[in-house]
Structure formats: structure tokens, C-alpha cells
Symmetry: C2
Subunit: 193 residues, 2 copies
DNA sequence: TCATCACTAGAACGAACGCTCTATCGAGAG
DNA sequence: CTCTCGATAGAGCGTTCGTTCTAGTGATGA
């Protein structure tokens, strides 16, 4: 019998897949590597995920979705002012990225790009993730008194600039893109007050 | 002898590789597929690119670099006002993306993300591309009277938001992220006048 | 005419891929 | 105890991968 607090095999496989695909992408991540690093056998992998690699990728994207959503919620709870929240957001992202040796970027983007137009189910999971994150930003802004349509548009560019800046920071191995993005997002948000 | 205006085998291979990796990424693009679609044999591919797939990817990224740089130059030449240029830029990107069936996103990003931290030479080529594009935006802004440090920072966020919005537009198969990004970039640029 | 050499051509190699298959394990039910 | 069945285990399937290799082509210059 499995006690409740220990991590089950299924969850271990999902987390490992998410981390590996975050770093290497969908195609470069093999099932052998997943089963090895998750300390599970191929039999276990196909037992929990009969849909194979595709199903595994979908679950990994959803895991990354929840992961980044938790990050956003934490930052937004700590910073009351939206502009200050933007700065805190990019600062924490930059720190995390640097501490991982510039390896752990967005847990969804790489897989999403690889599967765009080729794996509709994975693409849909990624789209749901982006929309989920936008909703968190939108709610933060409307709760701070911004008009719904302004908040809607801002949410798009906030998430998109975070994505682009993190990608740029990862490729250039520098915190600068994220730091600059934070300042510009704060300025942009403030310009709608 | 080869006349000057016809496209040589080498150039045909580079263009095909660039287009395929733009759509499918680095790992999912096979040399067999490249040689087939470029109407070249594997022997020709390895004759021109002894470094194999890695060298081919580097050349493909550089090709994408020149391609997007030409696009930026064209837009910047047509629109004198920087804010108007931002709007034209996102509009044209959205149109091109839609017309390709949401397949042709940034020709560098996918390959860059897949190789981040694993293929230093490809990553460096991608970094050079981003820096090249930023320089074009920077020059456009300084020529319009913006202070150097302001232009430097804006160039970062312009390119990064373009990247993020195009990625988002591709995944959601919608022009909205790019259209919104154009408005926000114009507003942000104007706020520094 | 003949040697040269950039280029084309594609068979073949070992390795790795996603996936299937059968066998086994082990805790709870009867 | 035996039966059941979710879970574990890993050998092996056919295929495709990147790469290597040898052979052949055809225009060029001596």
C-alpha cells in the first residue's frame, strides 16, 4: 500500500517528463531516458500512459501549466501593486533561470513550438496553459481597478513579453532581457492608470 | 558551369533546412527529408556541410537571421515614425503567419530553444541573430531622436514581445496577440518621447 | 586526349527510437 | 491458502536516425 504523502510512480513520471521536455524539447526526450530518470520501467510508463509519448507530453504540458500558474499566484499575492508585481515577477524568473544554469526556461514553450501544427492535442494543452496564465494576470489587474478590456489586452502582452524575455535571457545567458522587460511592463501598466 | 542567377545546390539545401526547422524544429527534421525536399542527395548534403546536421542547423539559423533582418529593414524604411513602424511590423507578421496556416513562426526560435544548453554553436548563432535584430531596432530609434540607453532597452523589449506574441499567435492560431502587441509597443515607444 | 576534381548518387552501418509483448510481483479479498 | 489484478520488469520488434563509404558523372585545363 502507498502512503498518501509519498510521490507515486505516475506523478514521478509526469514530473520527470516535464523537466526533461522543458530542457530538451519533445523530440529530443526519449522514453528510455524518462523511465530511467523517473526510476520507472517502460512497462510502468505504458501502463499509466497507454497513449505513449504524445499522452505523456500532454500531461507534462499540463504540469508545467500548473507550475507556472502557482508561481504567478504566489508573486501576485505578495505584491499588491500590479506594477510592482511585474518587477517581482521578472526578477524571480531571472533568478530561477540563472540558478538553473540557464537551462530551465518556460516549461511549456519548447514543446508547444515543436508540436505547433503537427500535434493538435499538445498544442491545445499549451494554448490552455497560456490562457490560464493570462486569466491570472487579467484578474490581478481588474482587482486593482483596471477596466476589463484594458486588463484583457495587458494580460496578453504581459505573458507574451515574459515568454519572449525569458527565451531571450536563456539564449543569451543573461538576466538583462528579463530585468528590462520588468521595467517596461511596469511602465506600460502604470500608463493605463 | 553554373550561371549566377540560378540557385545552387548549397543554397537550396540551406533554405530547405531553414524552412523545415522553422516548422518542425531541429530534432524532428531529418537529413533524409532535407535532401528529398531540396532535391539533393545525402552525398551532396555532406559534401557542402561536412559537419553534418549541426553545421546545417547553424547555417539555417543564420539564414533565418538574414531573412528576418530584411523584413525589419523593409518595414523600418517604409514607416518613418517608430510607433507606426511597430504597428506595421506586427500587422505584417500576423498576416504572414495566418497565410502560412499558422505554420511559419520565427525561423530561429524553435531551433534556438531546442539547442539551448546542449548545442553551444547553434545557440551562439541564435544569440547573434537576436542581437542583430535588436541593433536594427536600436538604430531606428536613435535615428528618430531617442536617447541611446532608452533605445537600447526598448530594442530588447520590442524584439522580445514580437517573439512572444508571434509564438502565442501561432499556438492559439489567432492574430490577436500580435495586434495587441503592436498597440502596446507603439504606446511604450511613444511614452519615451 | 586524358587527368583532375567538384559534385552527385545511394547502399549500408551501428545506434537509438517508440512501442509491443510476455512474465512476474505482491498486497488485499474470499 | 488461493485468486485477482494493478503494477513492475525488460527483452525484443520494426523502423528510422545521422553518418560513412565507394562509385560514378561531367565539365575543365593541360
Amino acid at each position: 500500500m502507498r502512503t498518501q504523502h509519498e510521490i507515486g510512480t505516475r506523478e514521478r513520471i509526469v514530473r520527470t517528463t516535464s523537466r526533461l521536455m522543458q530542457r530538451q524539447g519533445y523530440e529530443a526526450t526519449g522514453l528510455k531516458q524518462i523511465s530511467l530518470e523517473a526510476r520507472a520501467t517502460l512497462g510502468s510508463v505504458y501502463h499509466f500512459f497507454p497513449g505513449g509519448k504524445r499522452e505523456l507530453a500532454i500531461e507534462a504540458v499540463r504540469h508545467g501549466d500548473r507550475e507556472f500558474a502557482d508561481f504567478l499566484r504566489t508573486v501576485f499575492d505578495q505584491e499588491d501593486d500590479p506594477a510592482a508585481a511585474m518587477l517581482a515577477c521578472t526578477r524571480d524568473l531571472a533568478t530561477g533561470l540563472r540558478e538553473s544554469g540557464w537551462l530551465d526556461g518556460c516549461p511549456v514553450t519548447t514543446t508547444a513550438l515543436e508540436s505547433a501544427g503537427r500535434e493538435p492535442e499538445i498544442q491545445q494543452a499549451a494554448e490552455a496553459a497560456y490562457e490560464n496564465w493570462r486569466a491570472l494576470v487579467r484578474d490581478k489587474l481588474t482587482r486593482s481597478g483596471f477596466a476589463p478590456d484594458v486588463a484583457h489586452d495587458l494580460a496578453h502582452s504581459v505573458i507574451n513579453l515574459l515568454e519572449g524575455a525569458e527565451l531571450s535571457a536563456q539564449v543569451s545567458q543573461s538576466e538583462a532581457p528579463l530585468v528590462i522587460a520588468g521595467r517596461h511592463l511596469a511602465r506600460l501598466v502604470d500608463s493605463y492608470r
